[in-house]
Symmetry: D2
């Protein structure tokens, strides 16, 4: 209720300093065995290419023989035109020497994302809305559901909705159908309260990371019906956990968690209603970080820069 001018334009991609052309910003992600001299080699290479380091984070799991991880935001006026030669040079002059796996991601390139959802709408609609307003740099290309309930609101965002029913008998067939849509087409699949267990075969074949939201603070209440079990146990906090999906259900690397207070007077239904707000917030943060190349996945955990 204050008279101010509102910007009508979309928000800038993250990591882009004020006044800088987003096309000039890239993110360099590096992973290699830790040893002395990595930062010196990377930063010298970038300097000699004319790239300025705008921000930088690093982590080593163990300075003595561990894994070294680096995320640097670089500013290079000719990033898009010089990208190929930059990448070739980095591989030859730096990466090969340190046995790096690495990736250069221009800030303007958006991740291609598919959502899978059942009937609860709060997580899926929240992600669609954030994508639409440019708040998370992603293109949601399809929503797949085992129910038809959310077809209208999803299509209202201009996003295709594909209804693939799943029963105990048709699960393998349904997953094959899902894989036809997903394989090769997406950089990320988000299970936005998708209430079917995906097979190990699906996770192997889908060809990109899968993020799931679980409606408890893992490892507490892994498995089904966490709110009812939380009520039964009488906990004073409920929570939600976003994690990469792995074959071991609810055991995947955790990306983000949060909790809110509960009291004796909250029914299981109250917990479900109030928990929904935590779920969508936690999932949105996890997807945002993934789409901004902020997450490095370790064996059983994550590094979030």
């Amino acid at each position: 209720m204050h008279a101010t001018t509102q910007p009508a334009s979309a928000p800038l991609p993250h990591d882009v300093p004020a006044g800088v052309d987003p096309n000039e910003i890239g993110r360099l992600l590096v992973r290699c065995p830790d040893q002395p001299g990595i930062v010196a080699a990377v930063s010298r290479f970038l300097f000699e290419c004319g790239a300025n380091i705008v921000a930088s984070d690093q982590y080593t799991t163990d300075p003595d023989g561990g894994v070294f991880l680096l995320r640097a935001v670089i500013h290079l006026p000719d990033l898009m035109s010089e990208r190929d030669s930059l990448e070739q040079g980095f591989q030859e002059e730096v990466a090969s020497q340190f046995e790096m796996s690495w990736h250069l991601a221009p800030a303007v390139e958006q991740k291609r994302v598919a959502l899978m959802v059942s009937r609860y709408d709060h997580c899926a609609l929240d992600l669609l809305w954030r994508a639409q307003r440019g708040q998370i740099p992603m293109n949601i290309g399809v929503v797949i559901s085992n129910h038809s309930d959310l077809a209208d609101p999803v299509r209202g965002f201009g996003v295709p909705y594909v209804h693939i029913p799943v029963t105990a008998d048709t699960k393998a067939e349904a997953e094959e159908h899902q894989l036809e849509l997903l394989r090769g087409n997406f950089d990320l699949v988000v299970l936005a309260r998708y209430m079917q267990i995906l097979s190990g075969s699906f996770l192997e074949q889908v060809g990109c990371p899968v993020i799931n939201i679980h409606h408890s603070f893992l490892p507490a209440f892994a498995g089904a019906n966490p709110y009812a079990r939380a009520k039964d146990r009488g906990v004073k906090l409920i929570g939600a956990t976003a994690h990469y999906a792995t074959v071991d259900l609810d055991e995947g690397p955790i990306i983000e968690q949060d909790t809110i207070r509960a009291t004796h007077s909250d029914t299981a239904s109250d917990l479900e209603r109030r928990g929904a707000d935590v779920e969508r917030t936690v999932l949105a943060r996890a997807v945002d970080w993934h789409c901004n190349d902020r997450i490095a996945r370790l064996d059983k955990s994550t590094v979030v820069f």
Copy 2:
């Protein structure tokens, strides 16, 4: 990602115990000068009417000459048919004796709500979602905006969108137009990031409470551009405040506030993006509590039961 049955039906109204018909639940709100015997008189009356007290909260601003406030949730099988006689009896036998102002609100009666919004969509859409899901017991009957931007998404919810432009010259006329729509038709007006200052005359004539969301933790950063000023001051927390609108801008009784952490690396634009999540959550809680008759308004503050 767990195989569970999902309820397709709408959530129950709040305050309704499991297994109870919502038509049998009512909320009794009482305000009067504090003195001994109030609870005894109220509870005796309810007992003799066959009403069970399911939950009860009370507060006194000062046991010696202050204001006594009570909110009781009652269970009465014939609530809807006996409502008139119950109200008449309560007035005669209890309320008149203690100079009470009071109100009985059946749990199934939903508040009629009007939203006013400018161009930021996050608060308005969040309330529309919650209303659609039955998560907040309200009927949003109209959205009024001084811009046309949000017409499509609002109408996608089946809610009328009325565009009333406002300029410095036409403000009085615009408010008159708004009042024609609002006066007598609504129980609550919500300013869901409405970026125009409403006149004292408007607030007097609108005939129902008005809730505003301010994008700072009041009393810090009252007025315009709170995120930019928060960045400038270097605070380590940003927040949002929902309050009843009064003629003294940002001075109305506070209903709910929350904060999230900020760091030196957050730009003003980051603060705005991250703060939007707090704004919509804080506003939704305030509207939820209002629509469930949980708020008693004092002169400069609120009691939230």
Copy 3:
């Protein structure tokens, strides 16, 4: 760094309104099978005794055949002199009719508390500080430890420190020694990071409630070494849980929990250091609520008024 007058006197007991003599304030705790008319009967009795209800909370586990719980703060000028007759009258006129178990606790009566601790000092010292300041209404009468480390700081508070070593061979004997000190002498035993498992026999014989602090957000990481396991699992939150001790370790009714954020860069040692702050805060809240008669214990959970 502001020139203000500081009160040198001790803080008032909780629940005492400003300007009221603490000797005139009592807390009435009631538990009985739920049925209509309880509040009417209680409030009428109090009114007829001249007692004013300053604050009141109630909860029913199920309006249809559940347990009804009530906590009322009452103001009665002659509370201390009329206590006996008030109690007798309440039993005869109200409690017997509703099969109540109940208790009247004057606000000025402090709980007698014993602490048990091993070598970590943060929880025990924090409770000693709070008792010394009058911030929690309790008299800590003894600290029992299986180590001698904390003798000096504890005795600095004027509180006896009893060192009872425990080995696998002497555990039964040590518990017998502990029970000699505790039995009949205390209203509450607090395990303030006491790193020995108490036997079921001890819990039965000690004759008062026992509150334990566990350094994780239960039910996650029940058992030993929760911080190391939290690090191993890669959680993004760590927490602490205060609960009543029962024979089933870490399964007792939860009183309070809280969490703080953790990141990939926190070592297990960092988690332990940062978690210590949560532990002492959570434990202090639980002890405070217990000492102010705010907790009703159900079978597997608690009601905190």
Copy 4:
């Protein structure tokens, strides 16, 4: 209540990886005008000295002409013996080229800290306790107070307590007395609820940074009696702010803030009691970060690495 072995030894200094001798760890703090090549030059110099970068954080206020800040944790086996030559080399080969102000702080060197306190003990005792258990790497060398109340508990920690009364008439003289104790002897002065306003002259002459704790979430409720004013305004959150003291009271660069929820039933006295927990936690974090060289002070704000 779990049988585990407890370490009796002091915690390691922060920033020291497991298994590394703390004498081999140093922190390099750098500040200079931003320009390309800084990280390359610093990291190359360190590599050539045989120093490994264990962790690194950087920030620029503006990539185009702003201030560049860097904090690197380095591992160098001969750090203590080679410190002089390392510093000389860094100045000549790197710092002079980029107009750096910089500092190398060995992890084992503890800051010399003086506390100033009035009568509230919670902040001062908490810092003394954290210093004693080695949780914050600091040596508290003196506690100065304008009251005698806390002499015994402070001296119980083995720390000198100097009582310097202050009245309106003797303030200048008292400050002179304080300065005699402080000037040249300390790296940090902490106002742990010191309820006197220090003069600009004092702050100029004391010769080291001064950290103050204010019992509100600034900029809300700057000045005196924040809890009473918070109660009066009806806020739903209260908080605390740690900041560097400057001549403009409560306007100094903010280091850390936090909030907790308040309700209508909290009296001003309740807010004070509950807020005390936030105050000591916020102050402890700020002092911890300062003593670990994590804070870079800008004109009106701070960077916390």
